[in-house]
C-alpha cells in the first residue's frame, strides 16, 4: 500500500530519523536535568529565522537554519550565564529566554508581514511545523544532521559520558569541560532547529524528552540507554506517521507525540526493575517473604524452651507475639501449612514440622547474627536492635551472612552446629512487650 504513497514514505523516513537523532541527543539532556532546554531552544530559534529572512530577503532553508542555530545558541548561552552569575534559578532562566526570545520573534515576524510584500508564510510554518508537508529537502537536511550528530557523539562518547555523570572527574582529566558542554548543547540546538520545520516547537520538545525518559526505565547503562532512546525515537516517528496516514483526520505531528506518549506509558508501567508494576510486584513479594519469615521466627522463639522438640504453639500466643490480627495469623499459618512448614497440633494450635524447624532456625540465625553485628559494630543499644534487625534480616545476602558468621566465630561467639546463636537480648513476648519471657535459650 505504500508503493503509491511516496509522500507518506518520505515523511515516515524523515520523522523516524528525526526521532532517532533527537532521542539520542535528548537522552543526554534528560540525564543532565536539562529536559526543558530543548523547549527553550525551539522557541528561541524564531528571532534568528526572522533576522535571516531580513538579511537574505527570501526563503532559503539553509539561511533559516543558520539564523535559528545562531539565536538558539544565544538562548542557551543566556540561560547558562543567568544561572552562573545571577540569583535567577534554572527554571526561571529557561522560562525567561523562552518567552522573551519568542516575543521578539513574534515582533519581527509581524513587522515583516506588515512591511514586506514578500512571501513570509514559510516563516511561520518553520515554527509550527508542517509534518505532512515535508519535502525531499527536509528529509535530506534531517539525514545530514542525523549522521553528523551521531558521528560527533560516537567520537566523543567517553568525554560526554564523564561530563554527564561526573563533571569534576572530567575536569580533573584535563578535558575542556566548558567546550564539551557547549558542544553538547550545540548538538541539541542543531537537532532542535532541523526538526522545527518538520514537527513544530512543542512537538520537537516532546521528541527530545519522551524517548530519553522512556529509555531510562529499561536500563542503568548509558550506551544501552542511548541506543534504546534512539530506537524509541525512531519508532515514535515511524508509528506516528503510519497511524496518521492510515487513520482519517489525524494530523501527523500530534499523533507522533501521542505515539511517543504511549511508549512512555508502556515503559513506565511495564519496564522490568524500574517500572511501576515490577516495583509494586517486588514490594508485594518482599512483604510476603517478610511475613512468612516472621511467622517462622515467632513459632521458633515461642518453642525455644522445648528444643530440639517441637511443641504446639497456640494461636493466642502467636497473635500476642507480633502485631498480627487473628485473621492475618490464620492466613499465614494456612500458607505455611501448604508449604509443609507447620502442621496443626491440637485445637487452634500449630507446631513446626522438621523442615519448618530447619527453615525457622535459619531465619532466627540471620536475625540474631544481624542483631549481634548491630550491637558490636554499629553501636546500637541492645533494646533497639530487634526492630532494626527485623527490617533488614529478610534482605541479607548469603555472602553477608557468611561474613557475619566468620566475624562472630573469630570472637568465639558463634556456637557450633547449625542452630542459631543465642539472642543478644532478652526475647520479649507480645508485640508491645507486656509479658517478658524468662530469657533466651
Amino acid at each position: 500500500m505504500f508503493g503509491a504513497h511516496y509522500n507518506t514514505l518520505l515523511v515516515m523516513a524523515g520523522a523516524g530519523l528525526l526521532g532517532l537523532v533527537s532521542g539520542v541527543v535528548g537522552a543526554f539532556a534528560v540525564l543532565r536535568r536539562r529536559a526543558l532546554m530543548g523547549d527553550a531552544v525551539a522557541h528561541a530559534a524564531l528571532p534568528g529565522i526572522c533576522f535571516a529572512f531580513l538579511l537574505i530577503g527570501e526563503r532559503n532553508f539553509w539561511a533559516f537554519l543558520a539564523g535559528a542555530v545562531a539565536s538558539g545558541v544565544a538562548g542557551v548561552l543566556c540561560v547558562t550565564w543567568l544561572r552562573a552569575h545571577t540569583r535567577i534559578k534554572d527554571d526561571a532562566a529557561i522560562g525567561i529566554v523562552l518567552s522573551v526570545f519568542f516575543g521578539l520573534g513574534i515582533v519581527l515576524l509581524r513587522r515583516l508581514q506588515s512591511h514586506e510584500n514578500a512571501n513570509v508564510a514559510g516563516l511561520e510554518s518553520f515554527l509550527l511545523g508542517q509534518t505532512a508537508g515535508m519535502v525531499m529537502q527536509d528529509l535530506l537536511s534531517i539525514a545530514y544532521v542525523c549522521v553528523g550528530v551521531l558521528v560527533v557523539l560516537l567520537l566523543l562518547f567517553k568525554e560526554f559520558k564523564a561530563l554527564s555523570f561526573d563533571r569534576e572527574f572530567a575536569r580533573v582529566q584535563g578535558w575542556p569541560v566548558l567546550t564539551l558542554d557547549i558542544l553538547l548543547m550545540a548538538l541539541l540546538v542543531v537537532t532542535t532547529v532541523v526538526g522545527l520545520p518538520a514537527v513544530g516547537v512543542v512537538l520537537m520538545a516532546a521528541l527530545l524528552i519522551i524517548p530519553g525518559v522512556s529509555a531510562r526505565f529499561w536500563t542503568e547503562k548509558l550506551p544501552t540507554m542511548l541506543a534504546l532512546s534512539g530506537v524509541f525515537g525512531l519508532l515514535t516517528g515511524v508509528i506516528g506517521t503510519f497511524l496518521s496516514a492510515v487513520l482519517p483526520e489525524m494530523p501527523a505531528g500530534p499523533v507522533i507525540v501521542l505515539s511517543g506518549c504511549a511508549i512512555f506509558l508502556f515503559s513506565m508501567f511495564f519496564a522490568p526493575r524500574r517500572g511501576i508494576l515490577s516495583r509494586l510486584i517486588e514490594q508485594v513479594r518482599l512483604r510476603m517473604v517478610t511475613a512468612r519469615q516472621n511467622l517462622l521466627r515467632s513459632m521458633y522463639e515461642l518453642n525455644e524452651d522445648n528444643l530440639p522438640g517441637s511443641a504446639p504453639v497456640s494461636l493466642d500466643e502467636l497473635v500476642e507475639s507480633r502485631a498480627w490480627s487473628r485473621a492475618q495469623a490464620l492466613r499465614l499459618l494456612a500458607d505455611a501449612q501448604s508449604r509443609g512448614d507447620v502442621k496443626p497440633d491440637g485445637p487452634d494450635a500449630w507446631s513446626l514440622t522438621t523442615a519448618g524447624l530447619q527453615a525457622a532456625a535459619s531465619v532466627v540465625r540471620t536475625h540474631r547474627l544481624w542483631e549481634t553485628f548491630l550491637i558490636e559494630h554499629a553501636d546500637i543499644a541492645p533494646d533497639h536492635v530487634d526492630r532494626d534487625a527485623d527490617q533488614i534480616e529478610h534482605v541479607l545476602s548469603p555472602d553477608l551472612i557468611k561474613e557475619l558468621e566468620a566475624r562472630l566465630r573469630e570472637d568465639g561467639r558463634l556456637p557450633e552446629g547449625l542452630g542459631p546463636p543465642a539472642s543478644p537480648h532478652e526475647i520479649v513476648k507480645g508485640a508491645s512487650g507486656r509479658s517478658r519471657a524468662e530469657g533466651s535459650a
Binding site: 526561571a92 522560562g95 516575543g103 513574534i106 520538545a205 511501576i276
Partner: protein, 446 residues
C-alpha cells in the same frame, strides 16, 4: 466613568481596551508568577499554558458552545491535571521533575491539537489564535450596551480573584514558598496550597488565553516576577513590583508596538525582557554590575594592602635603599590595577612617591605593620597545625586581608606571642599602637 478614564489617559477606544486588558492580564500573572519563581516552578506556568488546550477543547466539545464557563472549567481541570500528573510521575516513577513536566505537557498539548483539529470544522479555535490571542481587536468584542469588552471583563474577574486569593492566603503562600517543610510541620497543608496555586495559574492562564495568547501569559508569569526578585528580598514588595512592571509593560508595549506597527503581545514580552535585562545589570543588591564593582573594590583593597606590606618588608630588609615605583608595580604583577592602587594610596597619604621611588608614610607604616603581623602570626599558627614552613606563605598571603583584631588576638594567644615567624623574621609589635596590639605585648611580657 470609563469615558473619563479614557479622556484622562488620552487613549482612543481601541488602544484603551488593549492597554486595560493587557494590564489586567499582566497584574494577575505578575502576582502569581512571584510564587512560581520562588518555588522554582516557573516552567509549570509554561506547561499549564500549553496543557490547558485539551481542556478547552473538551469543554467545547461536551457543550457544543463557545460559552466561556465550560471551557474555563475544562481548562482548569487540565491545568490541575498537569500539576498532578507531573507530581505523580515524578514521585512514583522516579522521573526528574522537569522531564516529567515535559512529557506531560507535550502529550496533553498534542492531545489538544488533535481534538481541536478534529472539531475545527465548526469552531474558530485555531492554534494561531491560542498563540497570539485577539488583543489587537479586543475593543471589537464589545457587545452592545455592555460596559466593557467580554475578554476584558473576564480578565477583570480573574484579576480580582487573584488579588483576593493572595490576600486571603498570604501567610500560607509565604511560608509554603520559602519553606514547605516548615509549613508542613506547623500544620499548614502545603500540598493543598500548592494545588490551589496551580488551579489559580490554570484559571488565569485560561482567562488570559483568548485575550492575549499564550506567549504573553508565559512571559508575564515569569519575567516580571524574576525582575522583581532581583530588585528586592521582601515578598510583599516583590509582588507589588511585579504587578507594577506588568502595568508598565502593558503601556510601553502598546506604544512601542503601534510605533513599529507590530504584534502587541510580542512587544509587551520584549519590553518585559528589557526590564529584566536592566534589573540583571543594575539591580542595587543582586545586580551584575554591583557584583563586579564589589569584586573589583575588593581586588583593589587587596592590592593596596599588598603594596603596603611589600614596602614594609622592603624597609625591613634594606632600610637604606628606596624601592622604585616601577619595581613596586612589577612586583604586584604589573598592569592597571597596581597603578591605580598606588595612586589611591598616595592620595590617601599612606605612601609618599618622590623622584620615582615609593616610601611608607607614618599612617601607611602602621597599617603595613598590622598586615605583616597578621601574615606572620597566621604562618606561625599554620605551622602549629602541622603544615611545613615552606607551605604556609601562600595561605597566609590570602588570609592576611581578612583577619580582624579579635581574630588576630586569638591567634596570637593560640601561638603564645612568638617573636619570630617560622621563617625567622620578626613579628612586629609595640609600634602598632592600637590598644589590643599593646595588650598582646603586655601579655607576652608578663
Amino acid at each position: 466613568m470609563i469615558e473619563r478614564l479614557m479622556a484622562l489617559t488620552g487613549y482612543d477606544e481601541i488602544s484603551f481596551w488593549i492597554v486595560a486588558t493587557a494590564a489586567l492580564v499582566n497584574v494577575a500573572c505578575g502576582i502569581l508568577g512571584c510564587f512560581l519563581v520562588l518555588r522554582r516552578m516557573s516552567m509549570l506556568g509554561d506547561a499549564i499554558s500549553h496543557a490547558v488546550l485539551p481542556g478547552l477543547a473538551m469543554g467545547f466539545i461536551l457543550t457544543e458552545s463557545r460559552d466561556i464557563v465550560p471551557m474555563l472549567l475544562g481548562a482548569l481541570a487540565a491545568g490541575v491535571l498537569t500539576a498532578l500528573l507531573t507530581q505523580a510521575i515524578h514521585r512514583y516513577a522516579r522521573v526528574p521533575e522537569d522531564a516529567a513536566m515535559g512529557v506531560v505537557f507535550t502529550s496533553l498539548f498534542a492531545l489538544g491539537v488533535l481534538l481541536i483539529h478534529r472539531t475545527a470544522k465548526h469552531i474558530d479555535l485555531d492554534p494561531g489564535c491560542v498563540l497570539y490571542g485577539i488583543l489587537e481587536g479586543v475593543a471589537f468584542e464589545m457587545e452592545p450596551g455592555a460596559l466593557m469588552p467580554r475578554p476584558t471583563f473576564n480578565m477583570l474577574v480573574a484579576c480580582i480573584l487573584t488579588i483576593l486569593f493572595v490576600i486571603v492566603l498570604w501567610k500560607e503562600l509565604k511560608i509554603v514558598s520559602f519553606d514547605p517543610e516548615l509549613a508542613e510541620s506547623q500544620g499548614y497543608r502545603s500540598n493543598l496550597i500548592h494545588y490551589l496555586l496551580m488551579a489559580m495559574v490554570a484559571g488565569v492562564t485560561v482567562a488570559a488565553f483568548e485575550a492575549v495568547g499564550s506567549i504573553l501569559v508565559v512571559a508575564m508569569l515569569i519575567v516580571p516576577a524574576a525582575t522583581a526578585h532581583l530588585l528586592t528580598d521582601r515578598l510583599s514588595l516583590m509582588v507589588l513590583l511585579s504587578s507594577l512592571i506588568g502595568i508598565v509593560c502593558a503601556v510601553v508595549g502598546r506604544d512601542a508596538a503601534s510605533h513599529y506597527s507590530t504584534s502587541v503581545p510580542g512587544m509587551m514580552s520584549v519590553i518585559a525582557g528589557v526590564f529584566f535585562v536592566v534589573a540583571v545589570l543594575f539591580a542595587p543588591r543582586h545586580g551584575y554590575l554591583i557584583k563586579v564593582i564589589r569584586h573589583w573594590g575588593l581586588g583593589l583593597r587587596i592590592i593596596q594592602e599588598d603594596i603596603l606590606a611589600l614596602l614594609y618588608r622592603w624597609r625591613e630588609a634594606s632600610p637604606e635603599k628606596p624601592l622604585t615605583t616601577t619595581h613596586t608595580i612589577a612586583a604586584l604583577g604589573g598592569g592597571t590595577l597596581p597603578r591605580i592602587a598606588l595612586w589611591a594610596l598616595s592620595r590617601d597619604g599612606r605612601v609618599r612617591t618622590s623622584a620615582g621611588t615609593v616610601a611608607l608614610t607614618e599612617v601607611g607604616a602602621k597599617q603595613a605593620q598590622t598586615l605583616v603581623k597578621s601574615h606572620r602570626l597566621w604562618e606561625t599558627y599554620l605551622t602549629t597545625l602541622g603544615l611545613p614552613a615552606d607551605h604556609v606563605h601562600a595561605p597566609a598571603d590570602r588570609t592576611e586581608h581578612y583577619l580582624d583584631e579579635n581574630i588576630l588576638r586569638e591567634v596570637a594567644n593560640e601561638v603564645e606571642h612568638p617573636h619570630t615567624d617560622p621563617h625567622g623574621r620578626p613579628i612586629p609589635r609595640r609600634e602598632g599602637s592600637r590598644v589590643d596590639l599593646e595588650k598582646i605585648d603586655d601579655d607576652n611580657a608578663s
